[in-house]
Symmetry: D2
Subunit: 465 residues, 4 copies
């Protein structure tokens, strides 16, 4: 239950469906877990783009009246939790602009490592920026390209970018989906009623009854327009480095990305953890909801019975009045409540997927102990999180990550658990390996596949008019 890891973004694109905005809206709804701060949809109708975007949840923003302002058969959409750039309205994606060839729009899941550098170059040459998001550089690069066609301009822009991205783009006539060469962020393609759909995860396809066609490949750019679907690989290939955190925490368990069934891989993480860190106990209790699949795996492997002894309150709002007379573990208690009758007098294994700052785990351990558990053993279905993410996940700084400076025993003492064990790095990779993909594990080992590169200044300058 790492609330402290904030979700990143979700993207969707629909080409040639009579209810494109509604499908985009439903897909964003299925991807709501990837970003709860703002959402937007852009559609194209009669040669004109239309945008609705606002702060808030998908279901609150896209009323019938809002959908009615989004006519057309082409749409892209975006859910956002700010990972880079502030929480202001100007940052609500998709970005939609007027430029030399007409109008275009862009949604981005990920983070550019040379975004700031390109932005400074562009500003030096007179570009103005509306948002504080580096993603805005992408539309400037497209607008300033001298190529005659939208898609050729996108290629020119991509050649100047380094970073993690799943892009969805559109102009009045076409939709374009692009994934970075390392395959850091997920992007899948499906089809429904003859229309083509792109989305961050397969759960979005499921909701709109779209069939999964395949994942967009790392480095692949797919254009869909009235002549059909065109795939190309405009950038040099890189070694695959898909984000392992998607498997561990971010993606929905019913999704299938990076060639992996998320629920299945999480159960394997749990089973592996049971093999690596067994402990005598009366029950395995998942921390809902993120710890659930790993707990099933742990329980099955260890033959210790599973018990749903932490109950989640699903009506938690986001703003909250706390009594001034403090209630013990108030923040956690709003979301979770232990089943005292099941726990009292029992030895409990708590399964969670990660520990970030440690404060939440500490509260949960205390709450379970207060409910009568005689022993509380904490098992984490990932290795210690030691490094921040630079590719689109809003992790805290190194200073805030408890595992960056403390040993496992120190963390155990901090949380108050009787024992604590993490999944090993090797165990994690072995469980994830079934897909054949290579993974970015920088948050566990600091091995960043992309460093903030030296400015591609020459390239950029050549490109200016």
């Amino acid at each position: 239950m790492p609330d402290h890891f904030h979700d990143q973004c979700g993207v969707v694109a629909v080409y040639d469906h009579p209810e494109a905005a509604t499908l985009a809206y439903l897909a964003l709804h299925a991807l709501q877990h990837r970003g709860q701060e703002s959402a937007g949809i852009v559609t194209s109708d009669s040669g004109q783009l239309h945008k609705v975007g606002a702060m808030g949840l998908v279901g609150d923003i896209f009323t019938e009246e809002a959908i009615a302002r989004l006519p057309g058969r082409i749409a892209i959409g975006h859910n956002r939790y700010s990972t880079h750039g502030g929480s202001v309205a100007a940052n609500i994606q998709p970005f939609m602009v007027n430029y030399g060839l007409g109008q275009m729009a862009l949604g981005h899941n990920g983070q550019l490592v040379n975004g700031q550098q390109i932005r400074e170059s562009l500003e030096a040459y007179g570009s103005i920026f509306q948002s504080t998001s580096d993603t805005e550089v992408v539309i400037h690069l497209i607008a300033q390209s001298l190529e005659g066609r939208f898609t050729a301009r996108i290629v020119q822009a991509l050649r100047q970018l380094r970073g993690a991205y799943a892009f969805v783009l559109m102009d009045e006539e076409c939709v374009v989906a692009v994934r970075d060469p390392w395959g850091l962020r997920p992007l899948v393609m499906g089809t429904v009623d003859g229309a083509t759909v792109f989305a961050s995860e397969t759960c979005a396809l499921d909701l709109i009854d779209a069939q999964l066609v395949r994942e967009v490949e790392p480095g692949e750019m797919i254009v869909v327009d009235k002549e059909g679907l065109h795939s190309s690989f405009p950038l040099p290939p890189e070694e695959r480095r898909s984000c392992i955190f998607e498997l561990l925490y971010f993606a929905r368990p019913d999704s299938h990305i990076f060639g992996v069934c998320i629920n299945g891989v999480r159960k394997r993480f749990g089973a592996q953890l049971a093999r690596e860190a067994p402990v005598a106990a009366d029950m395995v209790v998942p921390v809902p909801d993120s710890g659930v699949p790993a707990a099933f795996g742990y329980a099955a492997e260890s033959s210790i019975p599973l018990e749903p002894a932490l109950v989640r309150n699903h009506y938690v709002g986001r703003t909250f009045i706390e009594p001034s007379q403090s209630i013990r573990n108030f923040g956690v208690r709003l979301k979770l409540n232990p089943v005292r009758g099941s726990i009292t007098g029992k030895r409990v294994i708590l399964i969670d997927d990660s520990i970030v700052r440690g404060t939440t785990s500490r509260k949960i351990v205390k709450m379970v102990r207060d409910a009568g558990a005689t022993e509380v053993h904490l098992r984490i279905s990932s290795p210690p999180t030691t490094h921040p993410c630079h590719y689109g996940i809003d992790t805290p700084t190194r200073e805030e990550l408890i595992a960056s400076a403390r040993t496992v025993n120190e963390i155990r003492d901090y949380t108050g658990a009787d024992s604590l064990a993490y999944l090993s790095h090797e165990g994690m990779l072995a469980a994830a390996a079934r897909s054949g993909a290579g993974y970015c594990t920088a948050c566990f080992d600091g091995a960043y596949p992309l460093t903030p590169a030296v400015a591609p200044r020459n390239q950029l300058e050549l490109f200016q008019p």
Copy 2:
């Protein structure tokens, strides 16, 4: 996942706490599952009652600004889903009125069987009604009593009422909690920081860190005022008939009511079901969230592995735009999505807690089969629901209850499951019996403990001035 059973109401009362409104608000938050249509709180300060109430969810209604309008150390609160009386603002409880002795307020969980009849008598004698709720008769009876004290008037009113109720009442100085003689609806008493708290379920006590003292007994009336706590039993005793549907579905699994731990009893229902209706299969899949504990019990008893293969989307809003091009099983799909990778090629036992109209079960069975299950066996952790409730649960009419006119085999065919079994009546009672309580099982057998009585007209007339 019986969405078609609408939740009833939740009540709370707080006596002598400096943040009475905040505690009431938090308790209503914990009881949100009992009524999502409207909520209200009344407090007493400096001899004056204050009310805030609105349609909507607790977290949306009780902003900081709203809580600031609720000063005082005494509070009662109410969550509502209309079971009797329309969805209009005038029906938002607690009812708060001015009468001969000053002001009073009332919140009611349950349903009166002679409410309509009393209402007609009162109207014939000149009473005016603001709401369409029969609960309003209670305050008229109190106002018209010639007794000199609020509590004595309550007793006079109770003697005229028949029905299911957990009442919380207050005037400027005291709080009163009452439970009907059959003990149909739950009501518990706790304490925090020296203050007394009443609430429908213990999960509300847990959130505000209150210690459970005991349940209010069937037929008991507890008054709390500056002289302390006074218990009395003003009505003739009746045979205990607690609502078994609270155990099966309504109460939160982390609550402990009717002497029973809800999570534990649901697991026992599931285990009993496994003994009664075993089937060879590869996995036990709970229908979230209500089917979860029974599934744990079924899996443990049957030694068939549990699999979280239906994933719930927690961001489901209440109004929704459906594409006109219909998506298969759209309504269910918004809330649940199968984990295809876990299900494909497997024999699945689906565990749910009830079947009401059958339409939802049919969609879930189809969804699971579409996801690749080779067999789908449906197991229901309660007997067939054949009769409507008259005591506060918003069940459909007999005509709409699929089990009222169809055999189990017919229902199996309707849902499309390969097999279907319900928990037996005896099995259910055996599993529930641990508490020693007698249960109302009218929804399963039509054995209603209270019939809409002949009008206690004489009694009422004696009472008029």
Copy 3:
């Protein structure tokens, strides 16, 4: 510009028009000046009453969606500024209730002098009150009458009431309009498209294109139902005492009530004032908007040119952010700004309709002087306001009325004017006399026509069941 006198209420009723709610809404819009705090409309359709009411302005409350919730051919409506009873939602009129004969609704402009007394009697007999408004006693009296018909019950209720009132009532089938025997508050009757309309002022008839038929007479009760229009005078006649403040300030200048054209009578007040209190000056400047007609009269009579040298800002909202660095005369300046170029070096006669506390007049005088006026002469088109109103006008207490304890010369000094004169009592009555009506002038002389009467207890007790 006496902001300190708060407007009272406006009422409307429509019988047998296909767009009854829309007409009621438009009429309330035309009567908005009589009450800006809350508004409500009740309609009858298919034997059922429907209500929409809220705090706020008519135009904000009655959206298309709100009007759609008000079907039917019969409607009553009410605008309110609280004159008696607090600013709470429970006080929003029309009151709508269920009672022995079905449903009824009531709107009241005025104030009952024995309301509190009746309320206490009713509460002693067990009645409950939702609002803090004494008007609610009227519906209790109607509900408790043993008469078989709604209209007969209204008569019984009227016989127990003393006070100022223009009532509009309705049940599922009829509309009733009643005016107190003194004729204190205005009420007119009109017709449009065959429908009958009642409203506080003729300006409401004008907006909906209704023709004025006549005023409802003092003490008259008019019932309109499917058998037509029935007039009766159920109460003993009293000497006519129409509220002269309606002429001086409250009514809209384009209205015609009490047999008088408001604009015309206000001009006569101004002309009379010019005869009584002439002064050598360069221009007559009205204080907008209420001082305008009297200023026209004063200027015409005195042959001193009129100058629109105070400009009103019509976009004044009701909540406002004031800079902490205070601006001179900020409150007044938000509404009024002097035309410096017209005023500089001139001797100015300011015409206003009343002085209540004196603070606003003081600010206006200073503002005009700061704009360069060499002399500022204040002329008030009514006598000094010395006594509070008990019949429906929200005047301040005697202590707050500057004229209750100070001489004209003291008030002149307080306001800073070079000279000050009020219209004489005789001059006022002479100007108003054209209608032949007698007037209540209690606010100027303390001669209250109705004193808070001794309790009609016997009458009331006879009446109880």
Copy 4:
């Protein structure tokens, strides 16, 4: 009452005041008549700009919470009714952007004649546009300038622009105010508490207690920063052509712009009209509010008494429910109502300031005649409006302007008046001349001082990097 002429924009700037945002807000409130569609304020604090902007009225947008989000001692603000560019959120000014030197913001009152042309050039070179407003080109020109300082870049941008403008600009450190060389739009400078304030009209200075210093001169650019106030004239001088429509209709009567007191000049228009077009009548009736000052002038000059016989309802909202059974003259009647008692049997001279399409005048004439006038003479205090404005006033097209194709007699017949006369062109100029300014009278004679110029392409190209 020409509702059909939509107001243009209002601008304000504040330099070095501790409550800069509050002053800007109050000034926008005073300028609300210049634009009711949207409003925005940008402030600078600690080297960072902050913006709040929304559709709606100033009083609704700038709540205390909104003002709290606008810290700092420097502010610019803008009111808008779209004159060019659609009614979309992206068009809400001030525009605020990030560019090479940091951040800047811009508000514009007026219209550029070469805006579209510059926009096309900029887009051809890769600029992206957020809004559909041509004003956005100004910030691109500033951003692309190679000059090192903000103010030098503004000068470079101004040299490429042709059109009507009063600009307020700011960066983190300074405020800049600029007026076009023809002086088409007004802009005044004042001082309060040592702070410098710019605003479209003096009425904004009055509200915040600022002293008028002087008008910004045509072609003048004034920079205010920590080193003080710097005036320059960066563009070649042009012949002065101030917009005479500001005098006739747009500006508030209490303002003083173009060296003229608006109330005074309007009275002179009315007096001149009385000399040019006398008629025997019983009363002069102004059409509120815009016809008021001219009516005062007409009445004084003609010695015919003035009568406030059309009453304006100040509570007119912007959305409105019209009964389907149409009410005669509904739209006008919502705003105006005749005082029947004053008009009946009288010969009326109606004074209005302009006739645009003629439909409103026709309704007013009919309404006055229906109220009993025996004769209705229409007198317009400006010449016939024959040509659309290209400099910032949202006039209809030529086809819609009734005077563009019809004679005065034809218009008289259309409106139904007994006689109709307009102020002569010469009479208007004579009355306005007191200020010594030259005026743009293109809306009356088609003599446009600026034609949409040939593209200054060379200049632009030289300027690109």
